[in-house]
Point group: C2
Chain length 388, copies 2
């Protein structure tokens, strides 16, 4: 069991009717605010007006940058960083889902350097500081509202790269479940798949971790399995939206790691899919996850699957681990492709076998993904083939 540092100083306002605190929180950082958002859904649900009313009430000087796309592009980051410099921005306010928040974090870092923000990814330029970021979340999925990471795509190079850096951690996040009422059943399902994957990337690991955190991860998975279908059927079910929202933050804010190496596998593989095909991140993860689990199952790893299956699906712990493991994978696949109704194959989403070698090579950086089971290019190609 490894030692670790726990340090998550994000302040969260959770629940309805908390936006009245937005002004006092922003004012801690200054008066000049850059408001960022995506394709305009925040205008449809009235959130844009509510936020602007608070900003006006607080007398802030507001610049705006909308139109941040899903799988956010480096161009948005460049634009935002330039705007921060031009307008002498004090604090960035990201209103949206993970894409908006991810892009905003890198704008905040880009604002304080002289080089092109893409250099944070192309040459791993140091991230020593960033402007403060405050978020208002509208989609439960990526956990960006409570972590220090952000994933940025560069369409010119077909790269999609994630990176974490402590200065990017949001200072304050507003998590109001009612702001996710308008999320479609499909996006709700993709968000659930994304959260599940965040947990699996840590949970499925053979290094000894803290049992206490195992029980927490199993509880998160049960929470997502219980409430994602409810939120799809009843989009305005507060209990379901609230549980999904808080679960999404805790699936990836770092708490569950607790000293585990957490060498991610599915996310690096998926990033290559969505870099090339621009499919929804959570959908790509959903397709990959059961195949990855199947590929990694052997006599050594089976007990971990068995613990998962008994804790999450109530499977019989007295059965042989391998049998419980297979049943657990099947039940997970049934949940993703049956209950959530997500497409289950690459064929259905148009991902072609001809691209497997290059995607597989990039996913492992030309070497090895040192995860649950170390995966080399050939392994990843096999997992991709299982997804056809």
């Amino acid at each position: 069991m490894n030692s670790f540092v726990y340090d998550i100083p994000v302040k969260v306002y959770f629940g309805e009717n908390q936006l009245g605190h937005l002004g006092e929180e922003l004012a801690r950082f200054g008066r000049r605010v850059l408001l960022t958002y995506g394709g305009g859904s925040i205008k449809r649900i009235g959130l844009y007006d509510a936020v602007m009313a608070e900003l006006r009430r607080g007398g802030f000087e507001v610049s705006e940058l909308g139109g941040i796309a899903p799988n956010p592009r480096i161009d948005s980051v460049r634009q935002g960083a330039a705007l921060c410099k031009e307008k002498h921005i004090d604090v960035l306010l990201a209103v949206g889902g993970g894409s908006t928040i991810d892009a905003t974090k890198w704008m905040a870092a880009g604002a304080l350097v002289d080089h092109d923000p893409w250099e944070f990814f192309s040459r791993w330029a140091p991230v020593e500081k960033a402007l403060p970021v405050v978020t208002v979340l509208t989609l439960s999925a990526t956990g960006s509202e409570m972590d220090s990471g952000g994933v940025i795509s560069n369409p010119e190079t077909h790269d999609k790269i994630g990176r974490m850096a402590a200065p990017l951690l949001p200072k304050v996040s507003f998590l109001d479940p009612t702001n996710t009422y308008s999320v479609s059943p499909y996006q709700t399902a993709c968000g659930a798949a994304d959260m599940l994957s965040h947990i699996f990337e840590v949970y499925f690991d053979m290094a000894p971790g803290l049992y206490m955190l195992d029980t927490f991860m199993e509880g998160l998975v049960r929470t997502i399995i219980r409430y994602a279908p409810v939120a799809m059927r009843e989009p305005e079910n507060y209990e379901a939206r609230a549980n999904l929202m808080w679960a999404s933050s805790w699936a990836i804010n770092g708490f569950i790691n607790g000293g585990r190496a957490q060498a991610w596998s599915c996310h690096p593989m998926e990033h290559e899919l969505s870099a090339l095909y621009d499919i929804t991140h959570g959908l790509g993860l959903a397709i990959l996850t059961p195949r990855w689990l199947e590929y990694c199952l052997d006599e050594t790893t089976a007990p971990r699957y068995a613990q998962f299956g008994t804790a999450v699906f109530g499977l019989d712990a007295s059965e042989p681990p391998m049998a419980v493991a297979r049943d657990a994978i099947k039940r997970l696949a049934d949940f993703l492709f049956g209950t959530l109704g997500l497409k289950s194959t690459f064929t259905e989403v148009g991902i072609q076998a001809k691209d497997f070698p290059v995607m597989a090579r990039k996913a492992c950086g030309g070497d090895v993904l040192p995860g649950f089971k170390p995966l080399r290019q050939a392994d990843i190609e096999k997992i991709f083939e299982m997804c056809l």
Copy 2:
């Protein structure tokens, strides 16, 4: 479901060999350190020397205050606050268990006011600021290392009062499970009972909360039930000590509340026992808890017990809730008094019925404890009688 604010900016170094970071963390706050500790066990286990070596290495100016007693007294707080003023202390370093940390927090607050520190309790004097507190934990129980509370006793008035205040939150805590290897089986058991009670005070509540947090609380309880007996049998079992240590922090740092009213019942009752009899806090809680649960059980509350019994003890969810509830209480009592071997009655620990009326009246502040079930003086007296 209520809205809530989550804000726990304590930085935690968890695990072995982290003390090398002590100097850099203290140096963030200044050079003059007040080192506080209890009865000297930190000298026996070599921790005092290890801490002093780090302080010397960092060139700090160190003052010392040892001898802080269990159920810490206001006199220690007065002494520490005076020392902070006299020595112009920049940061307090508490090395010990909950008693040492609780007392140190109030020294840190007392250092910055002109009045007697007891006025924080007698007249609820405001706690606007405090000197920074860093902790090195040696006992898994109270959670003081990651919360903003502290309980102080005043033997003159027979008062034992807890109070929370944001400025008291430790800045940094060092949680090394090996520092709890020397904790006796009895103190390990009392610590486990204390942690369990922290969880029950939140879990047993009829207001709707987040299912996600229910699963977390149930996981914490399972963790404590799994590892407390291991740590008692094998004091140097790292896995057991690590799980208990991290569980103790998360049982009370505020995360599990998540909008629940959390009106505590057992702790206020127990504080009256240990104020008058100076028994170990966790032991008092262990005796009270099953009786309190029994007293609060009725048709309305039974489903909550049933959820607990199925999730924690694997009881059969298809049985009638009342039957599952009774079985759950019985299993909990078996754990506390059987597995942990704690004394199970007031009679065994010398608490006398003649004191029930005055203790019961003080526990409910002469009015009502508005918890799981509202408890008035007569209710509390009945619970005390069940403990005889």
